[in-house]
């Protein structure tokens, strides 16, 4: 009898650290990356690592947590959404982030995109115009990262004090590519931005700065989800 009780106690003691160590959402993330990201052609190793590491469910409102790893955008309040995982991966890969990069993000929203970037680059500066969203995202990001700075401000003017940036990620739709952002982009830097009327389907656009020359490349239409061809 004592032998059995001892065995039971031992097994419970062994199970506790195992239980604490394993993250039940890790499997969801792995599946998300395999089925939604890699299968759709994202191959940037750092981006894939970051998507596997960042707990997306921490960045969505409690009532949406059960859908956190689903292949779709989710409402986060204030008429805003957390982008579909593929869009986040696509926007991250397209700026080709390197460990030494300083990246500016316009439109913090949930904070998820900033967290993905923070996993890869040296420093992330992120600006949110809606105070409630910015404060909420700032709290979550503070918990996990010390290389992210959040500011509540109008993203049109960028973050002049921290410029120049190696890359800029704009997540809010705009009818204009703000001149201050182009100015704050380092020579050779890349900016990804959804453009078009803020009240319509937008186009995801890559802006590249080469000296005085600025080039744009139209990538894909988006409205919560990308309209990529199969």
């Amino acid at each position: 009898m004592n032998y059995r009780v001892g065995l039971w106690v031992l097994s419970v003691l062994l199970a506790i650290p195992v239980g604490f160590a394993s993250d039940p959402t890790e499997g969801f993330r792995r599946r998300m990356v395999e089925t939604q990201i890699i299968q759709r052609g994202i191959s940037h190793p750092a981006t894939i690592r970051a998507l596997k590491a960042v707990p997306r469910h921490k960045y969505v409102p409690p009532e949406q947590r059960r859908f956190a790893y689903a292949d779709r955008p989710l409402p986060i309040g204030f008429g805003q959404t957390i982008s579909q995982p593929y869009i986040v991966a696509f926007m991250t890969e397209i700026i080709d982030p390197k460990p030494h990069y300083r990246v500016l993000e316009i439109g913090t929203g949930s904070g998820y995109q900033a967290a993905i970037l923070a996993e890869i680059v040296d420093r992330v500066y992120t600006i949110e115009i809606i105070p409630a969203l910015g404060l909420r995202a700032g709290e979550v990001l503070d918990r996990y990262y010390d290389n992210v700075e959040v500011k509540i401000a109008d993203g049109f003017y960028g973050w002049a004090d921290a410029a120049p940036f190696d890359a800029i990620v704009v997540t809010a739709a705009s009818g204009v590519i703000p001149p201050p952002l182009i100015e704050q982009l380092r020579d050779g830097g890349r900016m990804i931005i959804p453009v078009g009327s803020p009240y319509m389907v937008q186009q995801l656009m890559l802006v590249t700065k080469r000296g005085n020359r600025i080039e744009t490349r139209n990538l894909m239409p988006v409205r919560f989800v990308p309209f990529t061809r199969n």
């Binding site: 703000p178 009327s197 490349r217």
Partner: protein, 802 residues
């Protein structure tokens, strides 16, 4: 004491007016918080309240007839009270539905169903009262149907009257009082006291709602809600109007910047923004006359002023006058500005005159609150140097949710009219956002090419140039071929502002994407094929980019049933609705209506299984009437929107005239014998009138488009009123026929008619999108042929004549 006949007619008319006015006010409310397609969707289901009332009558006929004396007034009073409260109930945080929630998970579907049920209630109770009255007086149905139709016709006018001065949330409450009053009027001495108490309680509720209308809670994805989220935004003006609820926000951080050149170094202007029914209408900019450079000079929209020096300019759908100020900035001597919405004209001339730089009050500017086509029909040939259309998607002509709105300003016929008004060097300028997959730009080009050919230009490619920035494309169509110096100017302007020439003679491939690359070459390849009039380039494309015509003026719809398999092959099913939501909502509405209509018709069939034969004929006859009448009504609305020039007036004129004329037809039918011969003859007359309509209506309206208003009113009354008068006889004749032969089928027949009316609304829209308005008339002819023959006795085993 029995209630007098006059009081019954009057109360029935008043109650019918309230029901129609409630539906119109509900549509406006739902359009404000959601989008207008969803408003149609929810109304179509709510309208099935009529069908459900028919079902209830068929099942509980005897019990309801016994209780009629006290039940009818009570149902009317209840219906009136519910009209006032249903929307405020759904306008709460708990029950608010959001159409995009259907695609993003959560409680979207559940709240949708709850909303349906809530909106269904006032119409169900209201319709049940009407149904019981019809059932009691089925032998004298012509007179009662007259009261019902006349009231319904006037209900539209009543709704517009309220909408012109009351807040949207007050309108539905105010119309509810009419149903409450009708209930009191129908109370006899036995029930008067209790009904008065009930009515007083209901009127107190209605009064409270009208006095405390609260605030509309639009979807968080609606344009106005998105703008409100931006700090510093303030609501400055709210104006009820028959054109929609107009709101003006001051939003300094929501900037007007239609794809500004990357060379632009200034601050993009923000400020006042006008919204109509919660949808973005236009920014209001103070741009003229003090500015050195106009904001549009940094966009592709400057192109006509680079290639020419226009003196007489026409701004079509001038919005808040930004295009007008642009033309003045470039030295135009006279600008005609077409702005249909009179409320917005008034705002820009008064409350917003400073914010808009007083542009509409400028001595060189003349504002025309008309529909474009009407204005063009009255304009001399060889008059303008430049006709400017707004950036597509602005001023309510946009994509997705706006896709099934007809747009007569962007059809081949419209461009031919514009070209006619141009002087020899004159140009038409039209711009669109760059879209991907390309649809707007290609459909616009296809329409321009066909318009050029119809205007006698042998080589459209020599008359059309286009310039592309990172965000917009501007097309110019010139009456004479473009000269070499103009093409040189275009190239220089492109270089200067980092734009790319998109279409022009002798364009070199590398010039096309020197600054702004595209993800694939589809846009270039298709445009090159379309400009040489290649039909296969249009037919083989995944989206419908065929030129828009007056027969199919749905410029912003790029999907049709035939294209769906190909689209599904290219895109996931889940993504398509985001791209072309309007068309898929229409399909969903039609599917829902059919399913519910079948349920509402089949249930009573089981109840009626013991009754006599001819159920199939009853089903056929009343289904055909429900479908046919609405098909004709919808086609007339579409035709007369263009003809009368004011969409809201056109709807009221068509619906009102049809209802009133049909009401008189119904009254007249009381003199006719209700047998299959009469019904056959009346059906044949309707067929004849519809065939005449098919043959001559379009040319008649086209030839008299420029006629004076009085002539147009007389022609409209004849074109709408005469067929409607005859069509109005069919339903009461059918009911009286059933009264004699199969009285148990009357409520069922009434329900069938109502259900099919709902189905036909979305079915007619689908047919017009797919095959054009002429096909809708053809189908209406076939439907009335079925109605005319439904009770034809040689098809019956036993004589159906009395």
């Amino acid at each position: 004491m029995r209630v007098s006949n006059f009081r019954q007619f009057f109360a029935l008319g008043l109650h019918s007016a309230a029901i129609i006015a409630f539906q119109i006010s509900l549509m406006q409310l739902v359009s404000n918080v959601q989008w207008h397609h969803f408003a149609y969707m929810i109304i179509s289901v709510a309208m099935l309240g009529f069908g459900a009332a028919g079902t209830a009558l068929a099942i509980c006929r005897e019990k309801l007839l016994i209780a009629a004396n006290w039940l009818i007034p009570l149902l009317m009073i209840l219906s009136g009270a519910l009209m006032a409260v249903v929307f405020p109930i759904t306008n709460t945080e708990l029950l608010q539905f959001d159409v995009f929630a259907l695609f993003t998970g959560g409680w979207g579907f559940t709240t949708l169903v709850i909303n349906y049920l809530i909106f269904f209630l006032p119409l169900f109770f209201g319709a049940l009262a009407i149904g019981i009255i019809f059932l009691i007086h089925s032998n004298n149905i012509g007179a009662y149907y007259f009261a019902n139709l006349t009231g319904s016709g006037l209900g539209g006018v009543l709704a517009l009257f309220f909408m012109s001065w009351a807040l949207p949330l007050q309108v539905s409450a105010l119309v509810g009082t009419f149903s409450v009053l009708s209930g009191v009027m129908l109370s006899d001495t036995k029930t008067l006291k209790q009904n008065l108490v009930a009515a007083l309680l209901c009127l107190m509720v209605i009064g409270w709602v009208a006095a405390n209308p609260g605030v509309l809670r639009p979807s968080s994805y609606k344009d106005i809600a998105l703008t409100r989220q931006i700090p510093g935004t303030e609501l400055r003006i709210q104006k009820p109007s028959i054109y929609g609820f107009v709101e003006v926000l001051y939003a300094p951080k929501q900037r007007f910047a239609p794809a500004l050149s990357l060379t632009y170094q200034g601050e993009a202007p923000g400020g006042y923004i006008i919204f109509v029914n919660g949808n973005y209408y236009s920014h209001v900019l103070n741009q003229y006359p003090q500015d050195n450079a106009h904001i549009l000079d940094y966009t592709t929209m400057k192109l006509p002023f680079v290639l020419g020096n226009p003196q007489r300019v026409l701004c079509v759908n001038a919005g808040s006058g930004i295009g007008v100020s642009h033309a003045l900035h470039h030295g135009a001597a006279h600008v005609d500005a077409i702005i249909e919405n009179r409320k917005i004209v008034s705002l820009l001339k008064n409350e917003l005159s400073v914010a808009s730089g007083g542009v509409l009050l400028h001595p060189k500017v003349e504002v025309h609150p008309l529909q474009t086509r009407n204005f063009l029909a009255r304009t001399d040939s060889n008059y303008y140097d430049l006709v400017i259309l707004p950036l597509l998607s602005e001023f309510g002509g946009g994509a997705g949710l706006h896709s099934l709105r007809e747009d007569y300003d962007l059809t081949i016929e419209a461009f031919v009219q514009m070209i006619r008004t141009l002087r020899p060097q004159g140009m038409v300028s039209v711009s669109t956002w760059v879209d991907h997959p390309p649809r707007y730009s290609l459909k616009l080009l296809a329409t321009l090419v066909q318009a050029a050919k119809k205007s006698g230009f042998e080589h459209p490619a020599k008359h059309i140039v286009a310039l592309r920035s990172w965000g917009t494309i501007t097309f110019l169509l010139q009456k004479t071929p473009f000269a070499d110096y103009q093409l040189e100017n275009l190239r220089n302007f492109s270089q200067e502002l980092l734009f790319d020439p998109f279409l022009m003679p002798e364009l070199l491939p590398f010039e096309r994407d020197a600054f702004n690359a595209l993800s694939d070459a589809t846009l270039f390849q298709k445009a090159d094929s379309i400009i040489i009039s290649s039909a296969s380039a249009i037919n083989e494309y995944s989206f419908d980019i065929s030129p828009a015509t007056d027969n199919q003026p749905f410029f912003s719809n790029f999907v049709n049933l035939g294209k769906i398999p190909r689209l599904l092959h290219q895109f996931d099913l889940g993504k398509l609705p985001f791209l072309e939501l309007g068309f898929f909502l229409l399909l969903a509405t039609l599917a829902k209506s059919i399913i519910l209509a079948v349920l509402l018709i089949i249930i009573p069939l089981f109840v009626l299984k013991k009754s006599q034969a001819n159920k199939r004929r009853t089903l056929l006859y009343f289904s055909a009437l429900g479908l046919g009448y609405m098909f004709v009504e919808i086609i007339l609305i579409q035709k007369f929107v263009l003809y009368l020039g004011q969409p809201m007036y056109a709807v009221v004129a068509v619906v009102g005239t049809m209802m009133l004329s049909s009401g008189f037809g119904s009254l007249f039918s009381q003199k006719l014998l209700p047998n299959w011969e009469t019904m056959g003859k009346i059906g044949a007359i309707i067929l004849g009138l519809l065939i005449i309509k098919l043959l001559i209506l379009t040319p008649l309206l086209q030839h008299t488009l420029a006629a004076n208003f009085a002539t147009k009113v007389v022609l409209s009354l004849i074109a709408i009123g005469v067929p409607a008068f005859v069509m109005g006889m069919m339903f009461p004749l059918g009911i009286r026929y059933l009264h004699k032969h199969h009285p148990a089928q009357i409520p069922w027949a009434w329900g069938i008619n109502a259900c099919m009316s709902v189905v036909s609304t979305s079915a007619a829209t689908l047919v017009s999108v797919e095959a054009g308005f002429q096909t809708v008339i053809l189908i209406a002819i076939l439907i009335y042929l079925i109605a005319a023959m439904a009770f034809y006795s040689p098809f019956s085993k036993k004589s159906t004549n009395p």
